[in-house]
């Protein structure tokens, strides 16, 4: 019994691990697809938990898992900095890794994730591709309190303004209100919608009303690009206003296919799930190689454009099917 087995289970039961998200979102169901895939491939059982309403629910779920004597947890902390103490507590009782969002100051064994700042910059590059001559850009997002949202936004802004790259761990943010002007590009504003798709769409509509020269809409959360696309189509401005975005909602993918959406950045969520399970399993098996030296396992994001849309979509469908609840 090299390291993995929890003394409470006495080695009699098979180790069980858990995958905890930061909320309820289709994104996480794709991750769950990766988890299910890994369960089958690697022969380990993994519970998936999605906290309904923020931090409280997440903490409660983690507590329950610890109470159950779970062997390993992969979690996406909602407020990493401030959850450090609690995560350290958890790390004492189980094998803890973070995924999607890191808690660098905590005793987690490793972090699996995307560099959202870098991904933001990649999205900026997509915008540049879409608008070679530059122009006015507007950003749409659900909520800006999430670190990944702010990092993405900053990546986009820095890229569009041709600023030097910032260090991913310590990003300086531009203020939210007001336009940010660069040589070729102007980021007019960032509008939030509190995860209400109707608001996301009406925000896009209002942006087109207010800014006649708007040339590109950038949607940072999964439902934003489709909402923008909808609004643009209805306004009859298809092609005139470019759309770039994040994640892989079907409507956005369809847009890429028909050429109405320029491109999207996919974090390949299923890889989060798969890699989390794989790493935890290896840790539990006592594999010294499981965790990289710098404790960071980067999941590469994928730039999806018309060029690779078909194969990407097929992969997504496969994972979706896997992620369905049994």
């Amino acid at each position: 019994n090299p390291s993995g087995d929890d003394p409470k289970t006495g080695g009699a039961k098979k180790p069980k691990i858990a995958y905890v998200t930061n909320g309820v979102d289709p994104f996480w169901d794709l991750c769950a697809g990766g988890v299910r895939h890994a369960e089958k491939a690697l022969g380990i059982e993994c519970e998936v938990h999605m906290p309904n309403k923020g931090l409280v629910d997440q903490q409660r779920i983690l507590e329950t898992l610890l109470a159950k004597g779970i062997s390993g947890i992969a979690v996406s902390p909602i407020d990493a900095d401030n959850q450090t103490a609690f995560l350290n507590d958890a790390a004492k009782q189980t094998k803890l890794i973070t995924q999607d969002a890191d808690a660098p100051k905590s005793a987690r064994l490793c972090y699996i994730g995307t560099d959202n700042y870098k991904a933001g910059r990649a999205l900026g590059k997509l915008v540049k591709e879409a608008l070679p001559g530059g122009g006015e850009v507007m950003i749409f997002v659900g909520r800006l309190e999430q670190l990944n949202a702010r990092q993405r936004r900053q990546g986009v802004i820095d890229e569009l303004l041709d600023r030097p790259s910032q260090s991913a761990t310590d990003v300086k943010f531009d203020p939210v209100a007001g336009a940010i002007k660069g040589e070729r590009f102007t980021v007019l504003d960032t509008r939030t919608d509190d995860f209400d798709k109707a608001r996301a769409k009406s925000n896009a509509e209002d942006a087109m009303t207010k800014h006649e020269n708007l040339a590109c809409m950038v949607g940072l959360f999964a439902y934003n690009p489709p909402a923008c696309l909808d609004a643009v189509k209805e306004a009859g401005k298809t092609g005139k206003i470019k759309i770039c975005g994040f994640d892989e909602q079907d409507a956005a993918l369809a847009g890429i296919k028909e050429g109405t959406v320029h491109g999207t950045i996919s974090q390949q969520p299923w890889k989060y799930g798969y890699e989390s399970v794989r790493v935890l399993k290896q840790i539990l098996d006592g594999d010294k190689q499981a965790v990289p030296e710098n404790r960071f396992l980067e999941i590469p994001f994928l730039v999806v454009t018309k060029a690779n849309i078909d194969e990407f979509w097929a992969e997504k469908r496969r994972m979706e099917a896997l992620g369905k609840q049994p």
Binding site: D25, P26, D196, K197, G323
Partner: protein, 323 residues
């Protein structure tokens, strides 16, 4: 029974004029079309909940019913079922939900707040479960799309969005029902004094059930319209919080939560005021962080001024009589 809707009209006019003066694009056709579209969508559920509020009840499940209807519709359509059957099915489901609410409230005598709060949780859970919480789309249903979210051009410049027509039909029917038919009168009577209504031989239970069915049915219809308007549904979030906006609109529009009061026109204007506020905040470029604060403050100011004006007028009348 007739409540003053001048206050809400004035509020609308003030916000409208203010924004129009501050921003040139506000009055262009595109923006007005959007404003009409969203106002009508929310006005529709506002009208639905008004029926329930007139009986002295409440419906907190509206947002979740929208989520469930949209999710289920997407699911059924994605399985390749016949579109009109699908629509009929989800509308029947919403009516069924209303029927269940009504039965629980009248026959088991549970409180409306409780029944529909449980509904809020339950339908949301079901929506997530049946769809495995996947976002779903409505692409490839062009006929349905044009029926539920198309536009009808009235001039080369201006086109009226589909929800407008639904709202007009519903509003006319609702206004006729409430003000011209006996059942409408019964609804007001039972909302004010249920015993008196029962003693007058009115079948109060059936009427209440009817109000809940109407509310859920209109919510279901709005769910379909929202689905095609947004072209996509997130089972966990589509419709979330709508009940609160809707109830706010109903109250702002002259419904009393104590029952027995309500006006179709008032509710529609109130729904429009709330959408107008969102639009104005965007048009004026105010930080979205302040959105809630502004909307909350404006609604509160609206009802406060309304109340104070009414009181002042009453005091003036008394004083005049004294002279």
């Amino acid at each position: 029974m007739k409540k003053n809707i001048l206050g809400i009209m004035a509020l609308f006019a003030v916000v409208f004029l203010f924004t129009a003066l501050k921003n040139d694009s506000f009055l262009n056709a595109y923006n007005l079309q959007n404003l009409i579209k969203w106002s009508c969508l929310y006005g529709l559920i506002g009208l639905g909940v008004s029926f329930v509020i007139i009986t002295g009840g409440i419906d907190l499940s509206i947002g979740s019913v929208i989520g469930l209807v949209a999710s289920l519709l997407a699911l059924l359509l994605s399985k390749g079922r016949d579109p009109s059957t699908c629509i009929a099915l989800v509308l029947a489901l919403s009516a069924g939900i209303g029927l269940m609410h009504g039965l629980l409230i009248t026959k088991v005598k549970l409180q409306p707040f409780v029944v529909t709060l449980c509904g809020l949780l339950f339908y949301r859970g079901i929506a997530r479960y049946i769809t495995d919480n996947q976002s779903m789309g409505f692409s490839g249903h062009d006929t349905l799309d044009s029926i539920f979210s198309g536009k009808v051009a009235v001039s080369s410049q201006f086109a009226l969005p589909a929800p407008f027509f639904y709202l007009v039909v519903v509003a006319v029917v609702a206004a006729l029902f409430l003000n011209r038919t006996v059942w409408g009168r019964y609804l007001f009577a039972l909302g004010n004094n249920e015993t008196a209504a029962r003693y007058s031989g009115i079948d109060t239970d059936s009427l209440k059930i009817l109000a809940y069915v109407a509310c859920s049915l209109l919510t279901g219809l709005a769910g379909v319209l929202f689905a095609f308007e947004l072209n996509s549904v997130q089972p966990a979030s589509t419709g979330e919080f709508y009940e609160l906006y809707t109830i706010a609109a109903a109250v702002l529009g002259g419904c009393s939560l104590r029952g027995g009061e309500g006006s179709v026109l008032g509710v529609i204007i109130a729904a429009a005021v709330i959408r107008l506020l969102y639009n104005s905040i965007n048009m004026l470029g105010i930080s979205t962080h302040l959105e809630y604060a502004i909307i909350g403050a404006v609604i509160l100011a609206g009802v406060t001024v309304d109340e104070l004006v009414k009181r002042y007028a009453a005091a003036r009348r008394t004083r005049q009589q004294a002279e």
